[in-house]
Symmetry: C2
């Protein structure tokens, strides 16, 4: 390969960084910690957005847009939320630049244009949205409010990595308001389920649904539901969260409603989000040493056709053979690209589309023209087959489905061999170091134990699985009684 | 009407402000100059986005995403652009808040978290994008780059109005790079044409295509192409601009390429954008004293069905009659809502959907049930007709098309009576004051004359129309020779 990648086994982290750049997904920008999402990467994100947006609308949500800026007085209103985000937020203090008298051609902040109140660039929008909901909600008739926003947010992270952790990222944030505690919890759980369905059925990324411990909870939430994925290096990745916020924001912003019995009560809230971090999960779950592997349902190009020819006549013959095939594929909703560039050789193109994770590649040369065949290669297994022109459309259609299922099953199998139950702390450490993955173990429920395990091993409690069962046991670390196993892992 | 609006004839500006809020499109937020776009308003914007995005992709553009922040050193690199935007930009100076020791529960900017270099919140992205393109472009083979971005931008405007002028707004910005001057100009013209097609065929807003004078040009452009619409109060509204940037940004960021003859040259650029300002144009072009009038192609709800009934049995009978109709309409791609709320009377609902501009309203009561008819009202003319159930689907389908055409024609007729040719300055002033609209007049081509006319009348040169012809004449103000008429108007 011309653009050879570091192997995963050599340096997984380096492999990831190289892959993101070489597959033209994203790159670092001239702004500390902020990325440029390149067209090919953005096309994948657009496919994710379109599907998620559909699922949000099917579950009754509408989109809206709220301001980028949060005035400091609103930002600080919900104390825990403010505490959680104050340490890493971008603050606008001035509204003008002026010519720098000491530096010709340079600008400086105009000290006369200082804002009366500083504005925080939203790290999340609960504060600005709940200060708005206050005016929208008087009665139970105004509830529920089921709103989602697609937006950019900024968190001043010190150590950043493309897609996984960036100072600015793109996300969606749902913010809902309800008349009862039960309804709000049901909403938060529903959105965790929507995220899980999206991750598994579209990204082909198996996830575990669970609840966070107190120390891993969203700042300002009463409960954080999550989906946790497992990467090929044995590290977990939190792929989406859905928060039951209780009445915390309603109290902070004094949002009350009159119930149908005429009683006043604070409104119940949820918020839920997934971000461009999902791109990181997608890349790391499926890709290999040759490059990206994309699930067909999210691939911007599902099928690429590479002609193998000498001279214009052969190319034109191939083109007239290919045109009806492309039409048939497109009529079936399959996206297809014919790469007739004469500036690059077929071998170069094969490598390029492998690197970019195009699920199916069709090559067609002179022998194929004579025999009415196509050479069809699948990206996930790198295997090839010669297929008759008579059945090629249904073959490709089935193949795309098969690839989607195969890469999901592969990820599921990997995870199955990387969830290990342990009963002692020695075993815990040994498994964590030797193969990583999720470790299922009893925990005594205290933040102290959780913290000590983290200090000693860097593993955190990823979640208390939703489908876990109550069972008596003793904590893997403290030996104290426990009534439930939780999942530990090192995490992104 | 329960939510009565100020009449346009009484106070056009107040009518607009009230309509935007009462029709649930947008409202002012707790952040100075920033708006909240409410779900109904956002749904219209989403329809605009979807159509524009399709048109951009059909003309070969891809989407990408660049950082929100522009470091000061990049911001100031293109001098004219910097000068144009420095006076009204939000500046991030710090990356942390901390507890205020003098104010329990309050936060303050942490003076120890001052950024080494200030970050400007993008008012437009030429600077950040061209500093990125520098790394993407070496050879003519890397050109053209045809990229669009959907994003939020911030301009610290002092006087703001919902949709028309807000400190933060949503927009798309195309940024393209080309090997030749001619190709870049063709791109800029193409995108003006795309905007005009969108405005006329989807928004039903007639526009005049033209070029801006030097003083009205985008800061940093060599030429600004524009589309100019006319509102019902006789004021013009700039609805979209497409800039030929020459080599200004390439020179500022040192972006050179090697041509296919092996020569080095600076890259040629364009940028083009439309924003949520289009919402203002849409609202003001068609709406009336009863509320919003929406073109069917952009209406979130195209058809609303209001049942008129007593008791559950009648409602259920109507429902079973309506269900197959709704399915048939939806199968034709028509969006339809059945409003079966029992908390509101039909008259209230009629007013509500008039206010919200739903193009077609179907009412169905007992007599309709007996006669197999529907009462169908169109929003634009407020006329009603009783239509047989046998033809109702095709009737509605035709009606939606008819409404789209009718409101466009109405706006076109209005504009036709509001473009006035004048040959003297007295006439100029008289027409401007009596009926407003566009004034077509000879201008001597000097910025001095343009500025004086503006001072005296508040009218600016909206554009030099693309389809204008060269003709000898004398300037309406100075009496100096002129070879072309331009369009003046007071403008939003």
């Amino acid at each position: 390969m011309s653009k050879s990648l570091t192997k995963r086994s050599e340096d997984y982290s380096k492999w990831y960084n190289e892959l993101v750049v070489k597959a033209d997904l994203a790159e670092n920008s001239g702004v500390r910690g902020c990325m440029v999402i390149k067209p090919y990467g953005y096309a994948i994100w657009e496919k994710m957005q379109a599907q998620l947006d559909k699922m949000f609308k099917e579950t009754g949500h509408e989109n809206a847009y709220f301001p980028l800026f949060v005035p400091k007085s609103l930002f600080e209103a919900e104390e825990k939320n403010a505490e959680g985000f104050a340490k890493e937020c971008a603050v606008v203090t001035h509204y003008r630049l002026k010519n720098d008298p000491d530096n010709k051609g340079k600008l400086m902040v105009d000290p006369e244009a200082k804002l009366e109140e500083e504005l925080v660039v939203r790290p999340t929008s609960e504060a600005i949205i709940w200060s708005t909901y206050k005016n929208w909600i008087q009665s139970y008739r105004d509830l529920p409010i089921l709103i989602n926003q697609w937006a950019n947010v900024v968190r001043w992270e010190m150590r950043t990595r493309l897609f996984l952790r960036t100072a600015e990222f793109l996300w969606q944030e749902g913010h809902t308001a309800h008349a009862t505690r039960e309804e709000a919890i049901a909403e938060a759980v529903q959105m965790m389920d929507v995220y899980a369905e999206f991750a598994e059925n579209f990204m082909a990324v198996p996830v575990i649904k669970g609840v966070k411990t107190e120390s891993e909870r969203f700042a300002g939430a009463e409960d954080t539901y999550c989906i946790e994925a497992l990467m090929q290096d044995g590290k977990a990745l939190q792929a989406g969260t859905s928060h039951f916020l209780g009445q915390n924001f309603a109290k902070a912003f004094d949002v009350k409603f009159t119930s149908n019995e005429g009683k006043q009560d604070y409104v119940w809230a949820t918020s839920w989000g997934v971000s461009t971090r999902l791109m990181g999960a997608l890349i790391m779950t499926h890709s290999d040493d040759n490059g990206l592997v994309l699930p067909p349902k999210l691939a911007p190009i599902q099928v690429v056709i590479v002609p193998i020819y000498k001279g214009d006549d052969q190319l034109e013959a191939i083109r007239s053979r290919i045109n009806p095939l492309m039409k048939e594929l497109r009529d079936k909703g399959i996206s297809v690209k014919f790469d007739d560039r004469d500036t690059h050789k077929p071998g170069f193109k094969f490598n390029e589309y492998e690197l970019k994770g195009v699920p199916v590649r069709i090559a067609i040369g002179q022998r194929d023209m004579e025999n009415n065949t196509f050479e069809i290669a699948r990206r996930d297994t790198l295997s090839k087959e010669t297929v008759s022109g008579e059945v090629v459309v249904s073959y490709i259609s089935n193949l795309l489905e098969d690839i989607q299922n195969t890469i999901f099953q592969k990820a599921l199998d990997y995870r199955a061999t990387h969830i290990t139950e342990v009963t002692s702390f020695d075993e815990f450490v040994e498994v964590l170091e030797s193969k990583g993955g999720f470790i299922s173990a009893h925990w005594d429920g205290t933040a102290e134990t959780e913290e000590k395990i983290k200090e000693l091993t860097k593993a955190t409690i990823r979640c208390i699985p939703i489908d876990g069962v109550e069972e008596e046991g003793i904590c893997v670390f403290s030996g104290n009684p426990s009534n439930r196993k939780v999942l530990f892992a090192k995490a992104y």
